[in-house]
C-alpha cells in the first residue's frame, strides 16, 4: 500500500518524474495507477517524506531451510543447466549456511551421483519408467509434494522450456512468488534472495525479491552461470511417487539431434541484418566449418527468413556463453546483447563504427564482412 501524507506533500512532483514505470500522475496530489510495482523510487526521492510504502509482512518464514535445485533431464541424462544451478546454489549457501539439495525424476536404476560432483549434498530421486519422458502434470505433482515436505527456503529451476512451464505451475500450487528468467542471484544482508532479471526487452534490469512466502522461487537462464565442480558426499534419498496419470498422456517424444543446439558450442559465428541476404550465411557456415564453430543469428536475420529460429541468439532466443562469439553484421540491439554478453571473448565485425555492438566487444573490426571474412577464411585454412 502506498500512503500519501497530504499535509507533508509540497507538490514538487519529483515522485512523478522519478517513477520508472510511469505510474504516478498528478492532480492535486500524486496518484498511482496500476503500473505501480511498489519499487520505492518515489518514496526515496520525496523531500518531505510524504510518501510511505507499507509492505505486507508477518508470515513466519524462519522454518524454511535449504536450497533446492530441480535437476532437469533429457531421457534420463542430466542436463548442464542442473550443474549450473548447483554451482550457483553452492555460492548462495556459503552466505546462508544452508544445505544444497537436488530433486531429479528419472527411470529406475539411473545413476544420479554426478549431481554430487557439482555440490548437491542431498539428492531426492523419484524413479519411475514414466519419468523418462517429461510430463508436466506428473512432474508438477511430485515436485510440489516434495517441496511441501522438505520446505526449502529457495528453489531454483532452469529457464528452459520445461522449467518455464513447470515452475509457474509449482509456484502457483505452493502460492509463492516466482521470478522468471533471472540472470543474477544474490543474498542480501537479511538473507533474502535477490533475483535480477531483464525487463522490457532488456532495456532495464529489475531486482525482485519474495519477502514473505517460501520457497523463494526463480527460473534462471541457461549459460549465465559457469558450472564448477564441488564434490560432496551425498545422501541419496529414494522417494515414492504417488500420482495418477490420467489427464495428460505423452503419445510421442522425439529428441532433436544435437547439432541444432547452439547453446553448447564453444565458438559461435553469428550473423545479423548486416549480412544482407540469405547467401551471406553460407559464408558464415564456411567460417564456422574452418573454426569448428556453430552458426547463430540475430532476430533480424531470423525474421528475414535467412535462417531458422533455433539459431536465434538473444532475449527471445537462446542465451549462449561460448569461448568466442563472432558477431558479423550485427548492430547489437539490447535484446541480442543480453543473449550473448557473457561470452568469454566477443569479436564484432561491422561496417558501421557507431554500432552498439562495439561497446561490448573485446575486439571490434570496422569493415565489410564480405571483404574481411573471405580473406580470413583463406588465411585460417592456409595456416592449418
Amino acid at each position: 500500500m502506498i500512503q500519501i501524507n497530504k499535509t507533508k506533500c509540497n507538490k514538487c512532483r519529483r515522485c512523478e518524474k522519478a517513477c520508472p514505470f510511469d505510474a504516478v500522475s498528478f492532480s492535486d496530489y500524486p496518484e498511482f495507477n496500476e503500473s505501480c510495482v511498489l519499487c520505492g523510487a518515489c518514496e526515496k526521492i520525496c523531500p518531505t517524506k510524504a510518501i510511505s510504502i507499507k509492505r505486507t509482512s508477518g508470515k513466519d518464514t524462519s522454518e524454511s531451510s535449504g536450497i533446492l535445485v530441480f535437476a532437469e533431464t533429457k531421457q534420463d541424462m542430466i542436463l548442464d543447466i542442473s550443474f549450473e544451478l548447483l554451482t550457483k546454489a553452492n555460492e548462495l549457501s556459503e552466505k546462508l549456511d544452508e544445505k544444497v539439495m537436488a530433486v531429479v525424476l528419472v527411470s529406475e536404476n539411473t545413476d544420479v551421483s554426478i549431481l554430487a560432483e557439482y555440490g548437491a549434498s542431498k539428492i531426492y530421486v523419484f524413479a519411475d519408467t514414466d519419468f523418462k519422458k517429461y510430463n508436466s502434470e506428473a512432474y508438477a505433482k511430485v515436485i510440489s509434494d516434495l517441496v511441501k515436505e522438505i520446505n526449502p527456503s529457495i528453489f531454483l529451476i532452469g529457464a528452459t522450456h520445461i522449467g518455464r512451464e513447470l515452475a509457474p505451475r509449482i509456484s502457483s500450487r505452493l502460492k509463492t512468488g516466482l521470478t522468471a528468467d533471472c540472470t543474477c542471484l544474490d543474498i542480501n544482508e537479511n538473507g533474502l534472495l535477490m533475483q535480477t532479471r531483464p525487463a522490457f526487452g532488456g532495456n532495464i534490469m529489475a531486482t525482485i525479491y519474495t519477502p514473505n512466502s517460501r520457497p523463494q522461487m526463480a527460473t534462471v537462464r541457461q549459460k549465465v552461470i559457469k558450472k564448477k565442480k564441488n564434490p560432496k558426499n551425498p545422501e541419496i534419498i529414494f522417494k515414492q511417487s504417488n500420482y495418477e496419470n490420467k489427464d495428460i498422456k505423452i503419445i510421442k517424444e522425439t529428441i532433436f539431434s544435437k547439432t541444432t543446439d547452439i547453446t553448447d558450442a564453444e565458438v559461435i559465428v553469428a550473423g545479423g541484418r548486416g549480412m544482407g541476404k540469405k547467401q551471406g550465411f553460407d559464408l558464415l557456415e564456411k567460417l564456422a566449418d574452418t573454426l569448428g564453430a556453430r552458426v547463430g543469428a540475430s532476430r533480424a536475420a531470423v525474421e528475414s527468413g535467412w535462417v531458422d529460429y533455433p539459431m536465434q541468439v538473444g532475449l527471445s532466443g537462446k542465451t549462449v556463453r561460448p569461448k568466442i562469439y563472432i558477431a558479423c553484421g550485427i548492430s547489437g540491439a539490447v535484446q541480442h546483447i543480453s543473449g550473448m554478453e557473457n561470452s568469454d571473448y566477443i569479436i564484432a565485425i561491422n561496417i558501421d563504427e557507431n554500432a552498439p555492438i562495439f561497446k561490448i566487444a573485446d575486439l571490434g573490426i570496422v569493415g565489410d564482412v564480405y571483404e574481411v571474412l573471405p580473406r580470413l577464411i583463406s588465411k585460417l585454412k592456409s595456416k592449418v
Binding site: 515452475a167 509457474p168 505451475r169 502460492k175 512468488g177 495428460i248 517424444e253 543446439d261 588465411k379
Partner: protein, 260 residues
C-alpha cells in the same frame, strides 16, 4: 464448445526508448497494442471456430483502456469479450494475476479450452498461463505448434521444446499456450467488423468475481520489485579500422591464439 482466449494490452515496446540522461523508459506517446504473442492464440481459436463452429470468448485483465484490444479481438471474429478491471487488481504480480484471471474464467463457466500467447512482451515471464491452469485445476501445455485434433473430451497437440518435440493428448478443459509463428494472424474482415459493432464488452470487477482481497493486487503478490536499473556497460575493447587484408590478418592471429 467454448474457447477462452486470454490477451493483454501492452506498450509497443519496440518503440520504447530510454532517456539518455536518466536511463528511464520514455513512455509518453507510446502506443498500446495487443501483445503480439496473443495474436497467434486468437488466430488459432478462429481457425478452430471455422472448422468446428465453436464460440470464442476473449478475456483481458487491465485498465479500462484495455477494452480497445478486446474490441479489436471482437472485430477479428470473437464472439464475446470480458474486461477484468478494478483498481483493486492494480500491482498484481503473476500469482495474483493468475488467481484473478482464474476467477474470471470460472465465472464464465462453460469453457472447454483456454488459449494463451507464449508470454507478453512487457512482463516477459510466460508464467500466467500455467498459473491460471493451476487455479482451475486443469492441465497446461506450453509451446504448442499444432492442435492436431479436438473433440468434446480431449485434445491432441504437438509441441516443440528446447531439445525435443512431444505429441500430447490431454483431457479438456486445459490451458494451451501457442508458439509464435505457427499461423499468420488475420486482419478483421469487413463482415466480422460489422458483426462486432453491437457486441458489448462486459466488465468484471472484484465485486462481481467475489475475489479474496488477500489474493489480488499488491496484497496478493508475493514478489516485490526492489529496484530497477540500466544494465551495466562493459568496458570498451579494442577497435581497429584498417584495410580488409590487415583486418583479416589481425583476426586470424587473434582466433589462433584464442581457440587453443
Amino acid at each position: 464448445m467454448n474457447i477462452v482466449v486470454c490477451i493483454k494490452q501492452v506498450p509497443d515496446t519496440t518503440k520504447v526508448k530510454t532517456d539518455q540522461k536518466t536511463g528511464r523508459l520514455i513512455r509518453k506517446g507510446v502506443l498500446s497494442t495487443i501483445n503480439p504473442f496473443d495474436m497467434y492464440a486468437l488466430e488459432e481459436a478462429l481457425v478452430i471456430k471455422e472448422k468446428y463452429g465453436v464460440k470464442i470468448t476473449v478475456l483481458s485483465m487491465g485498465p479500462p483502456q484495455a477494452k480497445h484490444c478486446l474490441e479489436f479481438a471482437l472485430s477479428m471474429g470473437c464472439d464475446e469479450a470480458y474486461l477484468v478491471s478494478d483498481r483493486k487488481f492494480a500491482g498484481a504480480d503473476t500469482l495474483a494475476t493468475s488467481y484473478t484471471i482464474g476467477c474470471a474464467i470460472k465465472k464464465i463457466k462453460n469453457f472447454d479450452l483456454v488459449l494463451c500467447g507464449l508470454k507478453t512482451i512487457d512482463g516477459d515471464t510466460g508464467q500466467v498461463g500455467a498459473g491460471i491452469a493451476e487455479f482451475l485445476k486443469i492441465p497446461v501445455i506450453y509451446y504448442v505448434d499444432r492442435i492436431k485434433k479436438i473433440n468434446q473430451d480431449r485434445v491432441i497437440v504437438r509441441r516443440e521444446l528446447d531439445d525435443r518435440t512431444q505429441t500430447i493428448s490431454s483431457k479438456l478443459p486445459c490451458v494451451i499456450s501457442v508458439l509464435k509463428g505457427q499461423n499468420i494472424p488475420r486482419m478483421p474482415s469487413m463482415k466480422t467488423m460489422i458483426e462486432s459493432r453491437n457486441k458489448k464488452i462486459k466488465i468484471l470487477t472484484s465485486e462481481k468475481l467475489e475475489t479474496d482481497p488477500d489474493r489480488i493486487g499488491l496484497e496478493g503478490s508475493p514478489t516485490n520489485v526492489l529496484r530497477v536499473f540500466e544494465p551495466g556497460k562493459k568496458a570498451h575493447g579494442k577497435i581497429i579500422r584498417k584495410c580488409p587484408e590487415e583486418l583479416a590478418e589481425k583476426l586470424c592471429g587473434c582466433l589462433k591464439k584464442r581457440s587453443k
